[in-house]
């Protein structure tokens, strides 16, 4: 029984290029208040292009309808729960959008005088201070543009510190449950990657770690809670093993939503970490960006933070470019300001109590789902659940129904799929993170859907295997897309 959704009509819409027609326009410029200029004369004839071949020409109403129609083909948080594990798809408060559109902030140019940028700099300072307090670290940079960019920045910081100690070392360790970005980041920072196996509880295996850590190891990249939603209860020992050999503990902060207000990485031995503001701190995913990936560090890494550093100067703030030990810039300007200020708005709305309450509800919601789905789905790791839980398709696979099938069938029930086939250490993983902004009502609908699909897998496996049935687009052929890539429109 599908309770959450009913079918409704959606509009068809061709591509822009197919509705384009010569002479149509959605624009009008003000009349020029200066003399017009002949481009060929001003730039040299060789520098002036002919018309932009194929570029669209549409009217304003057609443009608006085009994108509105497209929008109705998307699922979104505003429509319902997004149980994507490790993605923390929570409600995106709208006051944050209003804050980001305050004129003085919207039009602030990164090179306008510091005296005329104090408002923006205060926002940086307030956010930096809040993130340092929430993580228990000593300093933070807001420059990295996304989580993976923060990871890279963080590992470069560890590398710079190790270099200052005489040797950047060669190896980054990553648990087998790690996000794919971790090993990819290590490579971009010039390191070899070595995997560390997890133990039966899904945690870093201390014996394996101890055996792997030596003077060649630069750092361990750990996610805590890890990608099974399990808190690494040995984390202080993990830090001890690394520090004893002069190596650093890097924490991927993707799962900080399980910790804010409850535990602080800085208090359990982490040297450097990144945060995903588009996860824990509610900035909109926007269909895949823009994100923001601040990096927080302990004091010994502070001299290496990217240029420039925000610095208190009398009553105000200034940028300090004179930091000889810095790793340099990781991007132009100062960070994704528009995203950063939304995260600050989130922190202001919650306050200390609210952040803790949100963490507790996130963990409660995940535990509730785990408890209710345990009779129907295999739970390979039994350790206590934090903000997400990972089942497997073990029972359904015997009926020929895989995790991807169950995920696609969820769409018919009005939900976005959970995270499929990750973490890699769980074959057929069903990774569910509800976040704190889902009500019991929405969670119950989700759980009922999952139970119903488990039954369908027994009674009518084909129904699940061929899902989704109700979407305007059926399962797409991703294999042909990759085999014969068509990456742009061309006139037929």
């Amino acid at each position: 029984m599908i309770r959450k959704v009913s079918p409704h009509i959606t509009q068809n819409e061709p591509l822009l290029f197919e509705i384009s027609s010569p002479g149509k326009r959605a624009w009008q410029l003000p009349e020029l208040d200066v003399p017009a200029v002949d481009p060929a004369a001003a730039l040299g004839p060789g520098h002036v292009r002919r018309e932009i071949e194929g570029f669209p020409e549409v009217s304003e109403v057609e443009a608006l309808r085009h994108f509105t129609r497209l929008s109705t083909w998307n699922y979104a948080i505003d429509l319902g729960m997004y149980p994507l594990g490790s993605c923390t798809m929570k409600y995106n408060p709208r006051v944050n959008e209003a804050a980001a559109r305050v004129e003085g902030l919207l039009w602030a140019h990164p090179y306008q005088p510091e005296a005329l940028s104090q408002g923006a700099m205060k926002i940086f300072a307030a956010l930096e201070e809040a993130l340092v307090e929430i993580t228990g670290m000593d300093a933070a940079t807001l420059q990295p543009a996304a989580g993976a960019h923060g990871e890279l920045t963080g590992i470069l910081l560890a590398r710079a510190w190790l270099e200052s100690q005489g040797n950047p070392r060669k190896i980054i360790l990553a648990p087998d449950s790690a996000h794919g970005t971790n090993p990819a980041t290590a490579r971009m920072a010039g390191y070899e990657v070595q995997n560390i196996r997890s133990n039966d509880l899904g945690m870093v295996d201390l014996a394996a770690l101890e055996a792997a850590v030596n003077e060649d190891v630069a750092a361990l990249m750990v996610t805590n809670p890890n990608t099974l939603g399990v808190f690494e209860t040995d984390i202080v020992k993990v830090a001890g093993i690394l520090h004893a050999k002069g190596a650093q503990l890097y924490m991927d902060g993707a799962n900080m939503n399980a910790l804010a207000g409850i535990a602080r990485p800085g208090d359990f031995g982490v040297d450097v970490m990144h945060l995903n503001l588009h996860k824990t701190f509610s900035t909109p995913h926007g269909g895949g960006g823009p994100g923001s990936g601040p990096v927080a560090v302990k004091r010994h890494l502070e001299p290496f933070l990217p240029l420039p550093r925000l610095e208190k100067s009398g009553e105000g703030w200034r940028f300090d470019y004179d930091r000889p030990a810095s790793i340099g810039r990781v991007k132009a300007f100062y960070g994704n300001f528009g995203v950063l200020l939304r995260a600050l708005a989130y922190i202001l709305a919650h306050g200390a109590d609210g952040l803790k309450a949100a963490t507790m509800d996130a963990v409660l919601n995940a535990n509730y789902i785990r408890k209710r789905l345990e009779p129907y789905y295999d739970l390979p790791h039994q350790a206590p659940t934090m903000h997400e839980c990972v089942f497997s398709d073990h029972r359904q696979a015997r009926l020929g129904v895989r995790t991807m099938d169950i995920a696609k069938r969820l769409i018919d029930y009005g939900f976005h799929p959970y995270t499929v086939s990750f973490p890699l250490i769980v074959p057929g993983a069903v990774m569910i993170e509800p976040t704190e902004t889902e009500s019991k009502r929405e969670l119950d609908l989700f759980v009922d859907a999952m139970i119903s699909i488990a039954r369908e897998a027994e009674t009518d496996p084909d129904l699940v295997r061929k899902a989704p049935h109700s979407t305007r687009t059926a399962r797409v052929d991703e294999v042909s897309a990759a085999r014969r890539p068509v990456l742009r429109w061309k006139p037929r």
Binding site: L29, V48, I77, M89, G104, W107, L116, A145, A263, G338
Partner: protein, 438 residues
């Protein structure tokens, strides 16, 4: 906390179902030594009203009501209303990365249109779904060139945005890809291709040239490409001012284009978020980093779109991926797509022509230092007074002047970079010129 939907009664029911008596029970397995046993030292939660008040106060501390002649990588262009209208729709704003194609056709289709329009603009054959920004797209393009050529050395024009070059240095330093720079011609302000030719060798993977360059000057991309190709190196074309593509001949001889689309409906927003992009020739697509959307069909035979060629990416390839990048800048790329749609074929050209006219008018009042052709920015040397001093005086007229160049170009310490777009009224330019003439 108003964003938490459950009532106390619902929480109790859920706790009961979990076999827990309190929320604290759910954290009982955390060792004492990791627990924070005090409240976070943060203010109490604020109302919507207080939050908006706070940000309005911060906005008032910035330069909201000043005329502005800054460009240098971030440009002030009129933002069509539709860009915000579309990007504010929850179905775009609050959607995840479109892995689940069946319920993400809206985003996927708009990205496919974006990729197409970027190809049309740049003269390249394929474009990715966007990158963080131009300054991170450029180092990614350099890494891409190293993979394609199997060579390790980068040659970068000093007329490339200084902060882009700094970002490149940070990234390449640790992976043993040496970077060398070549200068610019002191008269024309264009990259010094003779010096570039002298530095080119069999180890050079790519030559990186920005056009219009940091000084606003249009480069001779055909010549640069011929020289690079002569030594088996690739040419990377960097651009920071996308509006220039409405008029300028695209660098079709480049092998990789790494650009910044902030000009397309993105507010300056104190430097971010921006939207970068990489475009290239079809034969290099498998070495290109970043998300890509491709056309395919669904099981009913209908046209459909999906993320594709993901075997290049970190979630599949882990340490062997082309990059650690795992997202594009979908929402701001969407705003750029709306911008390109609103202006379209004629409008973008007209907009670029207006920028050209504005900058020529300003240049008629404040003489450019370089002789090379420029788009909407140019360098000027105001004479006996230092640029900083003139800028201080201009602030008294509620004008933010140009960017003094001394920090990045000591030899241009007496110069500043001025930008004029369609947003700069003639009266502002006259007021600026008056101060210069004093």
């Amino acid at each position: 906390m108003r964003y938490l939907p459950n009532s106390e009664a619902e929480r109790r029911l859920m706790l009961e179902a979990c076999g827990a008596s309190s929320l604290d029970d759910l954290f009982a397995h955390l060792p004492d030594e990791v627990r924070l046993n005090r409240p976070l030292n943060l203010p109490s939660g604020k109302s919507e009203y207080e939050i908006l008040d706070y940000f309005k106060a911060r906005g008032a501390e910035c330069a909201a009501d000043y005329a502005c002649f800054l460009g240098a990588g971030v440009y002030r262009h009129y933002r069509p209303v539709l860009a915000d209208v579309v990007a504010s729709r929850g179905e775009f704003l609050t959607a995840y990365t479109p892995y689940q194609a069946e319920i993400s056709q809206g985003i996927l289709t708009s990205i496919f249109e974006f990729q197409t329009m970027i190809c049309q603009l740049t003269g390249m054959e394929v474009a990715n779904a966007s990158m963080y920004c131009g300054s991170t797209a450029m180092p990614e393009a350099a890494l891409m060139a190293a993979r394609i050529t199997g060579r390790e050395r980068m040659l970068v024009s000093r007329a490339v945005h200084p902060e882009y070059r700094e970002s490149l240095a940070t990234l390449l330093r640790n992976v043993n890809l040496p970077v060398a720079e070549f200068g610019y011609d002191a008269d024309s302000g264009q990259a010094n291709l003779d010096e570039m030719e002298r530095l080119l060798d069999e180890r050079t993977a790519a030559v990186i040239v920005q056009s219009p360059n940091f000084f606003g000057v249009v480069e001779e991309m055909k010549e640069a490409a011929a020289l690079a190709h002569g030594k088996g190196a690739l040419l990377v074309h960097v651009f920071t001012e996308a509006v220039s593509l409405g008029l300028l001949e695209p660098a079709v001889d480049a092998d990789i284009v790494a650009g910044e689309l902030q000009s397309f409906a993105l507010p300056p927003s104190y430097g971010g978020p921006c939207a970068g992009v990489i475009a290239t020739k079809e034969k290099y697509v498998r070495q290109m980093p970043g998300r890509l959307v491709g056309e395919t069909a669904d099981t009913r035979g209908n046209r459909a779109y999906c993320l594709t060629l993901s075997t290049r990416e970190q979630h599949i390839r882990r340490e062997k991926a082309t990059s650690n990048i795992c997202t594009n800048q979908a929402l701001v790329a969407l705003m750029a797509t709306v911008f390109m749609t609103v202006y379209g074929k004629q409008g973008l050209r007209e907009l670029a022509a207006q920028n050209l006219a504005k900058s020529r008018y300003l240049a008629s009042r404040v003489p450019p230092r370089f002789t090379g052709p420029f788009f909407n920015e140019f360098v000027t040397a105001p004479g006996p007074r230092a640029p900083e001093e003139i800028n201080r005086k201009l602030l008294g007229r509620k004008i933010i002047g140009g960017l003094p160049l001394g920090r990045h170009y000591p030899e241009l310490a007496q110069s500043m970079l001025l930008c004029a777009t369609e947003m700069n009224a003639r009266s502002e330019m006259d007021a600026l010129a008056e101060e210069f003439a004093r």
